[in-house]
Symmetry: C2
Subunit: 113 residues, 2 copies
DNA sequence: TCATTCTATGTCATATGTGACATATCGTCA
DNA sequence: TGACGATATGTCACATATGACATAGAATGA
């Protein structure tokens, strides 16, 4: 993963999938990104659900606010492992994660195709 | 992740979950490991389905035989990202992955509790 | 027995991810 | 306006994952 524009575009609310051929993304790359974005959004949703700030969540995860921000932004520098283990620490079940992964990005995107 | 005995035990066919308190594993750690094992097994299943050797699969993935072996063995050194992207390259869909993740290890384990 | 093929395991240099820090942006309230 | 809290972004030292290589074990066939 190199291109950073990608994540920015997507985090900015693009309908994911629309940027596929735009950059040289393979189907697999695209799918992986979608899955990660699904997890990112789940993470933010759960955090807000619990009424936590990024700082508070970072404490629970024994991480830092900046990393939490990056997780939620779908930054290419965050691994799926980190997203998943964070969600698990927030109480998500395997079934929850499966849903996030399968559904990819759920939030009604602006610019929807 | 540090302990390597863990993966060995599990790869050896233990009913996953039975080793939980045995080592100092949190629920989250355990869940993550289960998910990874589910993916590992899916990978092996798909490879065999296609009649590929580990060497052949490694070529497709632009990786090496040893890493494929480690992926399939559930070695702690392999990331979820690698497992997932490998499965995607093998043609798995998001739904397939969701299933593997949700179900964790599927194979009827010996030593079942 | 020896070859051959496939898989497992250990090690290493390099690539990538991570937490931490600084700093910027944004919104809200006085 | 300024101050405050929350979030975003860039950078860096250190940790971990990765591909590659060597080598060992296991299974099969001659």
């Amino acid at each position: 993963m190199k291109n950073t524009k990608r994540a920015k575009l997507e985090a900015a609310g693009w309908a994911v999938g629309s940027v596929k051929q735009f950059l040289g993304l393979s189907e697999a790359d695209e799918a992986l990104i979608n899955m990660k974005l699904g997890l990112s959004h789940s993470l933010r949703a759960r955090r807000q659900q619990e009424g936590l700030s990024q700082v508070q969540l970072a404490e629970r995860l024994r991480s830092s606010q900046s990393r939490v921000a990056k997780m939620e932004a779908g930054d290419p520098s965050v691994s799926m492992d980190l997203l998943v283990s964070s969600l698990l620490l927030l109480g998500a079940t395997s079934a929850d994660l499966a849903k996030s992964i399968r559904g990819g990005v759920k939030g009604k995107g602006r610019h929807a195709a």
